[in-house]
Symmetry: C2
Subunit: 193 residues, 2 copies
């Protein structure tokens, strides 16, 4: 998505450890108009998939997931992160390791908001190692519901998450695919401006 | 806002400790259409206030804050919660105690996203004891920027947060005001349906 790529070029900052900082429009300060356009574009790409619910993980996934769900006309659920979980009878749970923060979070979705016929679209701000998406896939497997794909704002395609998901047969749509952050320079995949 | 009040009546659950559970449409599963309507209504109430940015605190405030910012045509910032903070040179920070979770979080906003001329609208999903709003007010005071008011989805007006803010001269607009949860029954303020 050209508007997104232009914004990454203009204001994204590359930090040590292959971190792309986009906190001017995506995960601290947020551009509502950009989020609306991202949501509309992800909804367009999955418009024929019969999506019944959009899932994401708090916090940075909420804005793009909300706008995608609005455009698709379905509810959105954000999985909660917890350091520890005790009472889990009414929750589906999975572990998500954050490479950035070097911590394992448990994520959960309440069972009563999952229906047997659900067709889930997973949305997140970043796809790098795929931990958050894999955690949600695990919850979907526990619940026995279908995942129709993953809609991602920024994919770091030099990290293995996207490739592994596609090899496992998951449809992954990313609005910007970054092939390298080497030398502090953002390089996008071929075919992207 | 009638649509919101109807939804609270239909699917809100009262739990011990004066907790109103609205995780079917506000803070776990989220209704994007309801959030859009809440955002449009808060934007309408503050349309002449010259708002330049909407601030909220992750996670449950993000959805209504995003939609309010979209309707006002301004950026949204969600303050980050941390258990502890070490490097804070480039951050404004404040402490926020959660009565529900019985834990103090530090919240932070990056200094580079705050401009001297900013007129801030604070948005949150709930106003009860006012901790989150007060934390954001403290950050605004540190930064020397003006707060034009607080836009709240659900105010528990039997708890002191809203009253204290109004007494301090802060304009507070709440889309639903709950005067009591006694006996497990949700009672709204006079003038609300």
């Amino acid at each position: 998505m050209q508007e997104l790529i232009d914004l990454i070029r203009q204001s994204g900052k590359v930090l040590p450890g292959n971190i792309l900082k986009v906190d001017g429009f995506l995960n601290h300060q947020v551009s509502p108009v950009l989020m609306q356009h991202c949501g509309q574009e992800l909804a367009r790409r999955f418009q024929d998939a019969g999506v019944t619910r959009v899932w994401t993980v708090e916090s940075s996934g909420i804005a793009p997931a909300l706008m995608t769900a609005l455009a698709l006309g379905v509810p959105m659920i954000f999985a909660r992160k917890h350091k520890s979980l005790t009472l889990t009878d009414d929750l589906y749970t999975a572990d998500v390791y954050s490479y950035t923060k070097k911590v394992t979070n448990h994520i959960s979705i309440a069972k009563r908001f999952v229906q047997p016929h659900d067709k889930i679209l997973l949305v997140d701000d970043f796809l790098a190692n795929g931990q958050a998406v894999n955690g949600m896939m695990e919850i979907a497997a526990q619940a026995g519901v279908q995942v129709v794909g993953a809609g991602i704002v920024i994919e770091k395609s030099f990290q293995p998450g996207g490739k592994e998901l596609r090899q496992a047969g998951v449809r992954v749509e990313s609005l910007a695919k970054i092939k390298s952050l080497a030398g502090g320079k953002v390089s996008f995949e071929e075919g992207e401006a």
